[in-house]
């Protein structure tokens, strides 16, 4: 299996899905001629033409909203939002229109739209480019939300998303685009939604993470091992649907759980994971399910972001606290 960076995996998956199904089309700001600000769509316009890889005006609500109509016309749109921060401009089209199209038409219409957007911090990007607001999308029933960390999962989940009959929000960890490199299956590769990935086995504490938080979780687990604490790391990767059974099983084994998220604490997706774990595995819990999270502040200026984003040190401290509880 070739080793690929996350961005390479995304680009090659887009290419192979466009190759496989000529109804697949890409639209967004700067996705065409320039190949995307992160080169996720580099070369696709030359290859598949300007009708299927379209540079749009700077209008997010129109990009998402038009994708609904394009789907009705028989296309399989894969719009890109340049940064998740700008999904806010399209929020009504996401939560009220795209998410509900099947429901509100009694399935007369569906919207097989896969929205891609980079998200999360750690690259000193300007304001509004680094927020991790997955929970806002997750609270919109009707949209599926996936957030891979490995390049292999990126290929598998993006392929599944594009082929899914329902709208899927595909969250790409901005920080991982070039940092993440791993073996990616060469041939067709799909990853079913709703199945977590055990990134590291362990017996004492279960750390649940997704997207860019998988890395500090793994680093902390490594460090904890040195202190004799055996930590398991779970990469949710599929946030909606959520692998409730998987969560129960993993946490039941250790009786101690920590959820790590980059987003602000209050009403972040970590709170859902905590609530679910304690509902499902209460009898097994030997300690409160803890959260290691971004803080309840707006995303800070770039020079402060390393202090804001949870790192291995913070996760490790919580691992010790939870293990000793």
């Amino acid at each position: 299996m070739p080793v690929m960076s996350l961005i390479e995996a995304i680009r090659s998956t887009l290419a192979s899905e466009m190759e496989r199904d000529e109804r697949v089309m890409i639209l967004g700001e700067d996705v065409g001629k320039s190949g995307g600000v992160f080169r996720a769509t580099d070369g696709l316009q030359e290859r598949f033409g300007a009708d299927r890889v379209v540079d749009t005006p700077a209008a997010e609500a129109a990009i998402v909203g038009a994708s609904i109509g394009l789907a009705t016309a028989g296309w399989v749109p894969v719009p890109e939002l340049q940064f998740l921060g700008f999904a806010h401009q399209a929020f009504h089209q996401l939560g009220h229109q795209l998410a509900r199209f099947r429901y509100r038409t009694n399935a007369r219409f569906t919207a097989p739209v896969t929205i891609r957007a980079p998200y999360g911090g750690g690259v000193r990007a300007p304001e509004l480019h680094s927020d991790a607001f997955e929970s806002l999308l997750i609270h919109c029933p009707g949209i599926k939300v996936v957030a891979p960390w490995t390049a292999a999962d990126a290929k598998g989940l993006l392929t599944s998303a594009i082929r899914d009959p329902d709208p899927v929000f595909f969250l790409e960890p901005l920080k991982g685009y070039r940092l993440v490199r791993d073996d990616v299956p060469e041939d067709e590769h799909t990853v079913a939604f709703g199945k977590l990935r055990v990134a590291r086995e362990g017996d004492d504490v279960t750390v649940v993470a997704w997207s860019a938080m998988v890395q500090p979780a793994l680093e902390a687990a490594e460090a904890a091992a040195a202190d004799g604490i055996s930590v398991e790391v779970v990469d949710l990767r599929s946030l909606v649907p959520l692998d409730v059974d998987g969560l129960r099983e993993r946490v039941a084994r250790t009786g101690r759980a920590i959820v790590v998220q980059e987003a602000p604490l209050t009403a972040g997706f970590a709170s859902e994971v905590v609530a679910t774990i304690q509902e499902e595995a209460f009898e097994y819990l030997e300690a409160p399910v803890a959260r290691v999270s971004g803080y309840d502040t707006p995303y800070p200026m770039p020079q402060l972001e390393d202090f804001y984003i949870p790192d291995a040190h913070r996760v490790l401290r919580q691992i010790k606290a939870t293990a000793e509880f």
Partner: protein, 348 residues
């Protein structure tokens, strides 16, 4: 602002009428009359608690019917806001389904299978990007269909209107933006909705054609829409049609216009009645008569009675159906919620 007109207020020709078979004109007037009757019936049903909030279309019959008649139901799409009962009926929606929709019955969401009709849209202007994507997508596939999107003067203030018009212009999408400017957004008059004299003045800002039409003139609406369709199919892109019309009734049954509509405005509005105008023209043309009035009235009542019967005969919805159609395949968490729901219902 000079409005494009073919029939003046007295129903006299002041422009070149579109070439239409007399039978088509008759069908148009009958549909307009049906709309007016539906309003009366629906309002009384609502008063008796049999219907939810209802948005009457009285005064806007020509704007809806004149435009939609210029389209082909087989190939052209209708993307409505919430006051286009007649355009939806013309595009195959069952009247009983429409009534069920107003009653909040899930069956009211049923749309003609493989029809070319979009659901009504409650959020102002939120359907406009859909219409643009649909038209753009049809064009990309070489499908000859065009799309008409209906919306009001209030909706023209939403950001979605702007983003949609601009994208449609760039893609030369075969879409017709039909703004029914009835002068009111609930209680807000056009003069407070915008400083522009006309919505049509926005078209040049998107590089598209625009026209302000007398929306009480069914023939002018037909001609303007037919021309917009021709342009769309010729690859000349979208058109913004402003149908300057009048809202004869309340915004909805929940609204009391006497709180904000000056009496004189209400009076002059009556004079502009689009039905009176088309009828006068057709009588002059010798293709309409009092007998036809009565015949049409009987037909309207029959249509409505049948619909109301179906409406009354529709069983209450299955409570658990609230879990249907969230996704193509139900995910486990939702399935569990459905099961808990059923268990809870049985425990009552």
């Amino acid at each position: 602002m000079q409005l494009f007109q073919i029939l003046n207020e007295s129903g006299e020709l002041v422009g070149e009428p579109p070439k239409l078979d007399d039978s088509v004109l008759v069908d148009m007037l009958r549909l307009m009359l049906l709309g007016r009757r539906i309003d009366h019936k629906a309002i009384s049903l609502q008063r008796r608690g049999k219907l939810g909030t209802y948005a009457p279309l009285s005064g806007q019959e020509a704007a809806s019917v004149g435009s939609v008649f210029a389209l082909d139901r087989e190939t052209d799409w209708v993307v409505p806001q919430y006051r286009e009962q007649l355009a939806m009926l013309h595009h195959g929606l069952a009247l009983s389904t429409y009534l069920l929709q107003r009653m909040g019955h899930p069956q009211g969401s049923e749309l003609p299978k493989d029809g070319t009709l979009y659901p009504q849209q409650v959020a102002l202007g939120a359907h406009l990007p859909h219409a643009v994507g649909l038209a753009w997508g049809l064009k990309l596939r070489g499908d000859p269909g065009v799309v008409i999107a209906y919306f009001g003067d209030g909706a023209s203030s939403e950001g979605d209107f702007h983003e949609s018009c601009n994208l449609a212009g760039v893609q030369k999408a075969p879409v017709i933006f039909c703004c029914q400017n009835n002068g009111w957004a609930i209680s807000v008059p056009w003069s407070q909705q915008s400083a522009a004299e006309s919505v049509a003045l926005r078209a040049p800002g998107y590089g598209m054609a625009g026209l302000a039409v007398d929306g009480n003139d069914a023939l002018a609406m037909y001609a303007a829409t037919a021309d917009a369709k021709r342009r769309a199919q010729a690859g000349e892109g979208p058109t913004l049609i402003e149908a300057v019309c009048t809202r004869l009734g309340a915004h909805t049954t929940a609204d009391d216009p006497t709180r904000y509509v000056p009496p004189d405005v209400a009076e002059t509005a009556k004079k502009r009645d689009p039905i009176i105008r088309l009828r006068a023209y057709m009588i002059g043309k010798g293709i309409w008569s009092e007998e036809l009035d009565q015949e049409a009235e009987r037909w309207c009542d029959a249509e409505i009675d049948r619909a109301v019967e179906e409406f009354d005969a529709t069983p209450k919805p299955d409570p658990a159906s609230l879990f249907d159609n969230v996704y193509a395949a139900e995910d486990p968490r939702l399935r569990r919620q459905r099961e808990e729901f059923i268990a809870d219902r049985e425990s009552r």
